[in-house]
Symmetry: none
Subunit: 122 residues, 2 copies
């Protein structure tokens, strides 16, 4: 299970912060395939937001095939299956890295800063 946390100061919409935390939870291994997420109502109470906000986050992740929702049962981490060719994958990785380098750079961070942080995150 994951501990969610919303920060109103960032300007990032609540539903997007939830999405990000779920995605990162999966990426970091804190959320495992098949695991059940909090219900929309319980998480809404816990985070003191409207249940529609939670529902919106879950919905978007379901569309992205990251979550699986079952009415009456709950919401679960889906098995993520993205099928693209090796060549496409390499191109995509390059794109992602280029974009992130330039974003980091615009905030004054170097590639080494990023690499160090990524290593820490693991």
């Amino acid at each position: 299970m994951i501990k969610f946390r919303l920060d109103p100061k960032t300007g990032i919409p609540f539903y997007r912060q939830i999405i990000d935390q779920i995605k990162f939870g999966i990426a970091s291994g804190n959320l495992k395939t098949g695991e059940q997420l909090p219900t929309v109502r319980s998480l809404a109470v816990e985070l003191k937001v409207n249940l529609n906000t939670i529902a919106k986050a879950y919905k978007e992740l379901e569309i992205q095939n990251i979550l699986e929702t079952h009415q009456g049962t709950g919401t679960f981490i889906n098995e993520n299956k993205v099928k693209i060719s090796a060549r496409e994958k390499e191109e995509k990785l390059k794109d992602i890295c280029s974009e992130f380098s330039s974003i980091a750079y615009s905030y004054g961070f170097s590639v080494d800063d990023i690499i160090d942080q990524l290593k820490k995150q693991q």
Copy 2:
């Protein structure tokens, strides 16, 4: 001079992304005291946003005494020092890397894949 970069996918308002990049730019030394920023019109064209959006960002930084604006002349970095703590910097870097990781994850890449690619790019 700084290279600005807007990312619509983050959900962070444009005007706030600009504010952040100026602040971090000053803190990291990429923007120096007295330096002139792009005019609201030119930056609006460059970033493909409305001039009101740029004006809003500059205005907020002027209120914070970080920028000095002179009608008819331009907008400049004020003498005032921007103090960004090591903790804040790390938070920002962490945010960027988290977003990065989760996007990479959604395409099936590991953190090591990213690090390898970043090193290659350097």
